[in-house]
Symmetry: C2
Subunit: 253 residues, 2 copies
DNA sequence: ATTCTGTTAGTAACAAGCTAACAACAGCCC
DNA sequence: GGGCTGTTGTTAGCTTGTTACTAACAGAAT
């Protein structure tokens, strides 16, 4: 079995098939059609198991059965299979979240407590950044060293809030990033203070008003981890520390 | 636990979570945020298990963790969770089928053998019908008693092929269905022969050219099962039998 | 001193993977 | 036709791995 095939099988498993089902389905796509023996030979599944596994696949609409002796099987087209699995996902997804929406507590977006939360993963942090920005009333400071941390979504959010009259300041020690920041409509740019040192594990910093902050770092495996706190006293204190390092430098738009 | 909640949990399981993960996630959505104990109380999960389960959920990007004592957890927004699971699905789906496409045997659509295949389930049969119609070269006959079996997709396929110069004939013993059939552009209509008897388990019939046929029945649980055969001698013989019952009656457009 | 937190080990229950055996049947050689 | 061989479809049962669940405990908090 090739590496690619093993990966494909794992993916099918995560889509809800068993490994036997995945193997039989792939084998049938490869064969076009075949008997239990044909399938067992190429799929590395015991022949005696092929019958029941195929039955399951038929129920799921991924293969079709020829009632003959010997029984023959054929896969549905790749397009149909994609569609079938897609529909199944949408159905489950809908059902699951329909219920969640009904029980969801109202607390969202408002009334945070004195909490510091941890978020792992670049994309999740992207989302959290945009989310925090959306609560801005007066002022935003966004800083990062690395271009990837200034996503398009974030750029757009910064411009949107600047247009809405919020004071938006962008900071970076990297020329690439600074370039892009300066091109954003309505967004001021400042270079960071020199004394920041060799902060090569720092990721990004977001300050919203005087009580919301997000700070991320990049570990040795390039994974980004952020901590954030919104509308908390804790954040205020933190911000005062951070501001001391940003403000002293001259601004330029 | 309510019935709705149990269903939601099952759906989450089918989306790749364990039942504990589903319960904890739902409990957190309900609570807004909480400690392991809070969660254990409402989620019906042993407190000692909450920690590891929550760790898993954090890795999956479905909740966030507050590193404090006691540790507190909060869910990401419902929108973020939807998005996260959706992305995961698309990723696996893509990976799985990317490989399948590479191994797919070319046999599709062409060169069928003397095979009769079985398809179960209304929607899958809908798909197969459209698929068979798409291979028409000269002539199509489509018949059904029940309105649900004449889907919009099928109506469109019939019209499309009629427009392409293929001889399309629609047949139904039901007035409702006949009405709709008559309104299709370029499609002829014929009423079925009387001697068909009390065929109350018959579903639909599709004849394409003189060598492709699909015939479905509806069982006592209202499940539709179809057999079909394309470009086969067997189909030809079958078609001659079926035609004997359709042709003798007068046609009308 | 007692309750609570976070962690660990270990068991139980179940699903999935895997093996073996067998009756029914088809082909083949004699 | 009789006996031999090989295949098919079915079933029972074992093995393995995962998840659900219980119990116990050290350290912190009250």
């Amino acid at each position: 079995m090739t590496r690619d095939e093993a990966e494909a099988i794992e993916s099918f498993e995560r889509l809800g098939l068993t490994s036997y089902e995945a193997k039989v389905f792939i084998a049938l796509q490869r064969l076009g059609s075949g008997t239990a023996r044909d399938i067992a030979d190429v799929a590395d599944v015991p022949r005696s198991q092929v019958y029941s596994v195929a039955e399951g696949l038929e129920r799921q609409g991924l293969i079709e059965v020829q009632q003959s002796s010997p029984i023959r099987y054929r896969p549905v087209s790749v397009a149909e299979a994609r569609e079938t699995l897609h529909e199944r996902f949408e159905r489950e997804h809908g059902r699951a979240f329909e219920y969640v929406e009904t029980v969801r507590s109202k607390s969202d977006g408002e009334e945070e407590q004195e909490d510091i939360w941890t978020v792992r993963g670049r994309e999740r942090i992207d989302d959290r950044v945009v989310d925090l920005l959306s609560n801005a009333r007066e002022r935003i400071v966004f800083g990062t060293r690395l271009p990837v941390f200034l996503t398009e979504d974030i750029e757009r959010a910064l411009e949107r809030h600047a247009a809405a009259g919020i004071d938006v300041l962008a900071v970076s020690s990297s020329d690439d990033v600074a370039e892009r920041m300066r091109s954003l409509d309505g967004v001021s740019y400042a270079s960071p203070p020199e004394h920041q040192g060799a902060d090569d594990r720092s990721g990004r910093i977001v300050i919203v008003d005087d009580d919301t902050i997000l700070l991320s770092v990049v570990d040795e495996d390039e994974n980004e981890t952020a901590i954030w706190s919104a509308e908390s006293l804790f954040a205020s204190v933190f911000i005062q520390l951070a501001e001391a390092r940003v403000d002293p430098t001259g601004e330029s738009s």
